[in-house]
């Protein structure tokens, strides 16, 4: 059983998806999906534990040897990302039942399909992360993308449909680019296994084909992870999707895309080829900086809080890419730990916002007036998430920003460090706008708002408290991230 953990990690959510479709809407289907999600989380914890204790795990699907069969390969990096995805998946589905029942545009008879799509999306994200086969990445990418288009399109706002459609177009282009990239690699090397690819690419590295594959992969992956200026699909998709879906996707989908970027450019192409021969950092660094700055400023001017947080996500992705383009252990540690920390903070923020719109009916800023007094617990969680987003000490967000600044200073790039600090101030502004309206503006006359139900509050607060906990005890989010960073750069044990 223990030996098959890598396979179970994907199979349990995969099998639960059709099961959900068969169950009637209501409590039963929710319980099934939740059980599967928490099982997946348990498996992710066990995997991470084993990887940290015994080193990377290689699992051969169906016993077929590499390079003919598909290998699942778990090391410190993807065990960590698996943990993030599975944890958020489990917490969000626990949170989701009431929202699914009342706040999405599906008749009650069809609500089971929501859980099917959700579990498929989770399957896809876990699969991308765990597999050691490049083509398999594409397959799971399509599974997760297609199901996420469905999930976005069932938002109550009718604009959710166009948002999902645009995401569909852009996501498909991204996936196609990735597929083209993988295909070109296959043409040159004759293999799809990542380990094999890494071993064979150096021999043919200096060819136009490999360069073209590199370019397609760069753009394809950056589209999926919404790097500025390829982020344009993201704000609407996040803003108009149901809040459950937004919380889930914001905390996981882009993280997995960043994982893919790390995997392709550090493991398969190798850091030396990617950053010294191809100088990938010269593409990433300016886009990351412009993205951080521009998206933060846009967030300040937004009226729709959900859309504001979506733009803030674009900025936060910029921080992660910035850390990667430092190409140092500290920089990568910052990026990888920010995957985790950002999942915590955005998860908490979008869930708190979900609580607000559950009671108020919208995520518009002006509708949130006085909510701080009527929904104190919800807004408490929002404020904690916001502090973490700003990077206030003693929160998780501070930890990754600290390493990012240290990494920039190590390289002597102090203007970058200054910019990171300035953009943190921009985050203060947009978080403060919400706090000001929620706490200092009187509620509109006649509006009766109650605190969100406990079923929503408990998962939200679990993530909010995690933001505080991991701001103090950094052995997981920084310790594992550092090990992963050392592994990627080949300097670690």
């Amino acid at each position: 059983m223990i030996a098959h953990l890598p396979a179970l990690q994907v199979i349990i959510p995969l099998v639960s998806a059709p099961l959900c479709a068969l169950l009637p809407a209501g409590r039963a289907v929710w319980l099934a999906a939740m059980t599967a999600s928490w099982l997946a989380f348990l498996i992710a914890v066990l995997l991470l534990d084993r990887v940290l204790a015994h080193g990377p795990i290689s699992y051969l699907m169906g016993g077929w040897p590499v390079p003919w069969g598909i290998e699942y390969r778990v090391d410190a990096l993807n065990a960590f990302v698996l943990l993030i995805v599975a944890a958020i998946g489990a917490v969000v589905i626990t949170f989701g039942r009431e929202i699914v029942e009342r706040r999405i545009r599906l008749p009650e008879s069809k609500q089971s399909w929501f859980y099917t799509a959700y579990m498929l999306c989770l399957t896809g994200l876990l699969g991308i992360t765990i597999t050691g086969d490049a083509f398999n990445v594409f397959v799971f990418l399509e599974i997760s993308s297609l199901s996420s288009y469905v999930l976005i399109s069932i938002g109550r706002d009718r604009r959710a449909l166009t948002a999902a459609y645009q995401y569909l177009i852009m996501g498909t282009i991204g996936a196609t680019f990735i597929l083209i990239g993988i295909g070109l690699l296959y043409v040159m090397t004759g293999t799809l296994n990542m380990g094999d690819l890494a071993a064979r690419i150096p021999a043919v590295a200096d060819t136009r084909t490999i360069h073209a594959a590199f370019a397609f992969l760069t753009v394809g992956v950056c589209l999926k992870l919404a790097l500025f200026p390829l982020h344009l699909w993201l704000p609407n998709a996040y803003a108009y999707a149901p809040s459950v879906v937004t919380a889930f996707l914001a905390a996981t989908a882009t993280k997995v895309a960043i994982y893919v970027l790390l995997r392709f450019f550090f493991t398969i192409f190798g850091a030396t080829f990617s950053f010294e021969t191809m100088e990938l950092d010269r593409v990433l660094l300016p886009l990351a900086l412009v993205g951080i700055f521009s998206a933060s400023v846009v967030a300040i001017f937004q009226d729709n809080v959900k859309r504001m947080l979506a733009y803030s996500s674009v900025a936060q992705i910029g921080y992660m890419i910035l850390g990667i383009s430092l190409v140092s252990v500290t920089g990568l540690t910052a990026s990888i730990s920010h995957l985790f920390n950002h999942a915590l903070m955005k998860g908490a923020l979008f869930m708190a916002l979900g609580c607000v719109s559950f009671r108020v009916g919208a995520a518009k800023l002006e509708r949130m007036a006085g909510v701080g007094r009527t929904m104190p617990w919800t807004m408490g969680a929002f404020v904690i998430g916001g502090l973490s987003l700003i990077g206030v000490p003693l929160t998780a967000g501070f930890v990754s920003k600290w390493y990012l600044v240290v990494g920039a200073l190590e390289k002597g790039w102090w203007p970058v460090a200054v910019l990171v600090l300035i953009t943190s101030l921009l985050a203060v502004i947009y978080v403060w706008r919400v706090v000001e309206v929620a706490y200092f503006k009187p509620a509109p006359a006649g509006q009766v708002v109650r605190e969100a139900p406990l079923a929503l509050l408990i998962p939200t607060w679990a993530l909010a408290l995690a933001n505080l906990y991991f701001g103090l005890d950094t052995s997981l989010n920084v310790g594992v991230a550092r090990r992963a960073a050392e592994m990627l750069l080949g300097v670690g044990p």
Binding site: Q166, F177, A212, F216, L223, W233, M278, E279, F301
Partner: protein
């Protein structure tokens, strides 16, 4: 006795708890029990390091007991007990709490084994002590308290900066010998120096202490400066520079003390002078000298408390402590007079009184190490002490010309406190070995040799003679209602006057600059909002085609970039 409990916590927590107890005998009794309990706790703890906590990879030793810290902790308890007895009938909750919170903080500082705890106690002492000044509830006291607070917190900030530099460079927070060469030591030394009232850093003392309440001054005189003396002895023992500083400290206040009218301010100056002796001892740094500094701090706390208590009693009964308005009080307050004379004899180092057996340790050490200049100056300063504190205080308060004030004797609890302090002063003078036994280093010194006693008596006799001649011939500066200018004139009068002009100009410039910046920022926000606002280019929903265009464009750029 509770194992490993910090006695300072008993005082700090207890003083706050006291607020819950109804005002009256019950509360006074509780306040008295606190230092007694804390003292029992202190005596029950063997030497060692306790309550170590790990914080941010630093090991903090919040309680360290060794010879040096024990001597200070013991005398701090005595002083706290005396102050509580002295304030037995006081019904002001502010003074009651501050009167034990502040000693608790100072106690925490001398028991701290690491710099972080030291800093926390350092600041707590600063903040809690200012209430003893504000408790007088006059405008003058309020302003003096503010000035005091600024200086004290400034010392704390310097200390913090120095500590940060030190921990960054060495990775250790332990509070051991620092020396001038260790990183951050200069900042730390200045921070200590402010609290120890080094020359030119001293004005807060003469400024604030005489403005505090009757009890407040007694409490204040015991802790802040001695805490700094402890810190210097711990961190900077044997730093040559301190000999010169200490000598200067012992010398200059004499002249100010001679012409000062407010008798409590005279005592504040004399405090400075006594601290000078201790700083010299620390600067010499030999075991004998350090013992001398610690012993003198011990004795000084007691006799200075006694003197301040007697002046407090005078202030309470006669309503003033201005030398020009007092005189002849010995008829009304005979016991207070006796106690004051005991204190005066102690500070003047009469044989059989406390300072005689402690100060001579320092002088002996200076002679042994060949610091003759310092030795001679200290000798002169000893004569000066007798002059301004030993004779002047009792003479002008209780004798001199009869001012006609007829008041009652000090209340009983004050007399008891003064009596205990006087007994301790004499006790130390008569049985010096009891004090020598608790000093950090073993002492093999006998103050009562014939030459020593005779030399001291000669010094005192000549000093007394000089005073008598000067007073008789009318040359002695009369007690006038006057304001004497000290160094603080420069920063309290000259600097503000000069800066007002500069300030006006700067303000005008700033306003113009501000207006310009505001205009620019508004313009910038307008531009940003045009592009980033909800309907701006960067925030708008784009047609799918444009999105794809960007993707293709980036792919093209990447291809070209990688191919080249």
């Amino acid at each position: 006795m509770i194992d490993g409990l910090n006695p300072a916590l008993v005082l700090v927590c207890g003083s706050l708890l006291a607020l819950l107890i109804p005002q009256g005998l019950l509360r006074s009794g509780f306040l008295l029990a606190l230092p007694a309990l804390s003292l029992i706790q202190l005596l029950g703890l063997p030497d060692g390091q306790y309550a170590q906590i790990e914080l941010f990879r630093l090991t903090l030793t919040t309680l360290r007991l060794d010879g040096l810290s024990f001597a200070f902790a013991l005398v701090f308890h005595l002083a706290a007990l005396l102050a509580v007895i002295y304030a037995w009938n006081l019904r002001d909750p502010v003074q009651q709490v501050a009167g034990l919170l502040y000693p608790g903080a100072a106690l925490g500082a001398v028991l701290a084994g690491d710099l972080v705890t030291l800093f926390i106690c350092w600041e707590l002492a600063a903040v809690s002590s200012v209430f003893l000044i504000w408790a007088r509830r006059t405008e003058r006291a309020y302003r003096a308290g503010l000035r005091y607070l600024v200086v004290q917190v400034g010392s704390g900030v310097l200390l913090l900066a120095g500590i940060i530099v030190h921990i960054q460079a060495t990775g250790s927070a332990a509070f051991e010998h620092l020396g001038l060469d260790s990183p951050g030591a200069t900042l730390i030394l200045v921070a200590f120096g402010i609290k120890a009232a080094f020359p030119l850093l001293h004005n807060w003392l003469q400024d604030a202490y005489p403005e505090a309440t009757v009890t407040g001054t007694v409490v204040l005189s015991a802790f802040t400066t001695k805490m700094a003396i402890y810190a210097l002895a711990r961190g900077f023992a044997g730093t040559e520079m301190l000999i010169a500083i200490g000598t200067l400290m012992a010398m200059f206040p004499i002249f100010f003390a001679v012409i000062e009218n407010d008798l409590r301010r005279v005592l504040a100056y004399s405090m400075n002078n006594q601290l000078g002796f201790m700083v010299v001892g620390i600067g010499i740094g030999t075991p004998l000298a350090l013992d001398g500094a610690v012993a003198h701090a011990f004795a000084d706390i007691l006799f200075k408390a006694l003197l301040f208590m007697s002046m407090g009693a005078v202030l309470l009964r006669a309503g003033t402590v201005n030398g020009s308005q007092l005189g002849g009080l010995y008829k009304s307050m005979p016991l207070t007079t006796v106690f004051c004379i005991v204190g005066a004899a102690s500070i003047s180092a009469f044989p059989l009184f406390s300072a005689f057996v402690t100060k001579s340790l320092i002088l002996e050490a200076a002679a042994q190490e060949g610091h003759w200049v310092a030795f001679l100056f200290l000798l002169f300063a000893s004569a000066g002490v007798f002059h301004h504190a030993g004779i002047k205080i009792p003479y002008f308060a209780f004798f001199a010309h009869d001012s006609g004030i007829r008041c009652r004797e000090a209340p009983n609890h004050m007399l008891i406190a003064m009596g205990i302090a006087a007994a301790l002063c004499i006790g130390i003078g008569v049985f010096p070995d009891a004090l020598y036994a608790i000093l950090p280093y073993p002492v093999a010194f006998d103050p009562y040799t014939t030459t020593h006693v005779i030399a001291q008596l000669q010094l005192l006799t000549w000093s007394a003679l000089a005073f008598s001649v000067l007073v008789r011939t009318g040359i002695y500066p009369p007690e006038l209602r006057s304001v004497n200018l000290d160094f603080d004139w420069f920063y309290r009068r000259l600097l503000p006057a000069a800066s007002t002009r500069v300030w006006t100009l700067a303000l005008r410039g700033w306003e113009a600059f501000n207006a310009g910046v505001t205009r620019r920022v508004e313009a910038l926000i307008a531009v940003l909002s045009r592009h980033h606002g909800p309907h701006g280019l960067l925030a708008a929903t784009w047609p799918s085609g444009s999105m794809v265009l960007w993707a293709v464009l980036l792919l093209g750029v990447c291809l070209v970039f990688y191919y080249l």
